[in-house]
Amino acid sequence: MSAAAPGTSKAAHSEVGPKKKKGPGALATAYLVIYNVVMTAGWLVIAVGLVRAYLARGSYHGLYYSIEKPLKFFQTGAILEILHCAVGIVPSSVVLTGFQVMSRVFLTWAVTHSVREVQSEDSVLLFVTAWTITEIIRYSFYTFSLLNHLPYLIKWARYTFFIVLYPMGVTGELLTIYAALPYVQKTGLYSVTLPNKYNFSFDYYTFLILVMISYIPLFPQLYFHMIRQRKKVLGHIEDYSKVE
């Protein structure tokens, strides 16, 4: 999904009033700052790549190819965030972060990369744009938070842009999966049929449909969670710096 829920658990821990929290050590903080700066830069590269390709071609069709490699690289790199939670230098839930990251990685590799025919679809541009803007804001938010100098603008953007970007990304993702369905069914991509010696079968086509259906319960929950976070975080204007 396109909204970045991992960070929301961080913000969920920010409450009014002083709280004694054992943050990551100095080395971990330095590493995290570097990580978040690199990711911010990476997604900026993707953003710039999209804009340049659009200006060069004069249309917004087929822009995926111009940013395919950095998209794969930086989106896959986000898997490190699961490790950060597992090791404890980031106070988010491993399961929640894992779910978020893997769903992005799934869309990048198991749908867009694997089914060539959808790469020219406009829905791909829809979610890539949503992801790009979201991630630039999110990673700069983390960077500034770690440095204890969080401009209100970034915080505001993080908790406001999602209102449009999240549904936009979800729409792009769903349309892309839907576009991939006929090709998956035709070629039997990633599917295993009986009989075989493992006595196992898997129908990727059905699996993709189930994935699409799972958006129905999951998307509203995550969306309204972010809205609640927004009320909590932006409701306290005086609470600037100690937001993780």
Partner: protein, 324 residues
């Protein structure tokens, strides 16, 4: 709702205490019980509290001394607790509860019935021409017997062998547990009883192989049962005492020398045998997931044994001898 009998008389009525119960989160006074005997137990206090708040039956009450502290046990006696003449307790609602026995019976009956539905090829599962037929492979019949025996054993153990420390668990657990057991049972049964099921190849796996796995399964089932009986015998009926389990005359319990939770060890053995016998990947997944969960439980149990008993045998591992 705040109940308070008019009190012209002092609270320190000789021989009894006042007990007030506050909400752990809001600190609201929920109830005041006067004339509580000093030798009253928490269980009795819970019953009294239930009378004034009928929606909170005792099983869903968590009574503690501190809003964020541990729950007091039902057996704890009022006068042995660090409270003054008026005891202040904090209450947390544990949510709707369901008894362990009910959960176990439901979650184990499902796989038994579901597997048999696939075995007998009830309509709408496989292609219509296979309805109510049975597989021609001997191993499929054997697998059905093993699977059914296993769950019948579990049901009987729930009714006659197990002694539960906690009477109840949160209601939502029954949905979680049943989804797990019933879901996996359906997934395994679908493939094993499928018309296109591929039995162990007669070039690599012979009848000797199938018989060996069958014996291993049966061995582990008896082992698991022996452990359950040994654990039951550690605890007299109605009590909640905890003792270190030791090997008994039954050779199947000698594994206690090396392992804290041999019931899980045997369970793993049974399912490994079943996996090898059926050569079915979903069974392997089920075994793996079960192994991970049982290892987590075994480690927790092992840790609490070590914490509770200073003379706990040092040679023992939680679930796998010397390894895990």
């Amino acid at each position: 709702v705040y109940h308070h009998t008019s009190s012209i008389f002092p609270l320190n009525y000789p021989g009894s205490s006042g007990v007030e119960i506050l909400d752990a989160k809001t600190k609201d006074k929920l109830c005041f019980l006067d004339k509580v005997e000093p030798n009253a137990t928490i269980g009795e206090i819970k019953s009294m509290f239930h009378k004034s708040h009928p929606q909170w039956y005792p099983a869903r009450q968590s009574i503690r001394l501190d809003p964020k502290g541990k729950s007091l046990k039902d057996e704890d006696v009022l006068q042995h607790l660090p409270v003054g003449t008026t005891a202040t307790f904090y209450f947390r609602d544990l949510g709707a509860q369901i008894s362990w026995v009910t959960v176990f019976l439901t979650e184990y009956t499902g796989p038994l019935v579901i597997y048999l539905m696939f075995y007998f090829r009830v309509p709408f599962i496989y292609a219509p021409k296979y309805d109510f037929t049975t597989s021609k492979h001997w191993v499929v019949h054997l697998a059905c017997m093993c699977h059914s025996f296993h769950y019948v054993k579990r049901l009987l153990e729930t009714l006659f062998v197990h002694r539960f420390s906690h009477g109840t668990m949160p209601l939502r657990n029954i949905f979680k547990n049943c989804t797990y057991y019933w879901g996996f049972a359906a997934w395994m049964a679908y493939y094993i009883n499928h018309p296109l099921y591929t039995p162990p190849s007669k070039y690599t796996c012979t009848y000797v192989f199938i018989d060996t796995t069958q014996c291993a399964i049966f061995f582990c089932q008896i082992g698991n049962f022996s452990i359950h009986v040994a654990l039951r015998n550690l605890r007299p009926p109605g009590s909640k005492t905890r003792k270190i389990p030791y090997p008994t005359k039954n050779p199947f319990t000698w594994i206690f020398l090396l392992v804290s939770c041999p019931n899980y060890t045997y369970e793993l053995g049974s399912w490994l045998g079943f996996t090898l016998m059926t050569q079915c990947l979903p069974v392997a997944f089920f075994t793996l997931v079960g192994f991970i969960q049982m290892t987590v439980w075994a480690k927790g149990k092992h840790r609490s044994y070590l914490k509770e008993f200073r003379d706990y045998p040092p040679l023992r591992s939680p679930i796998l001898p010397f390894i895990l």
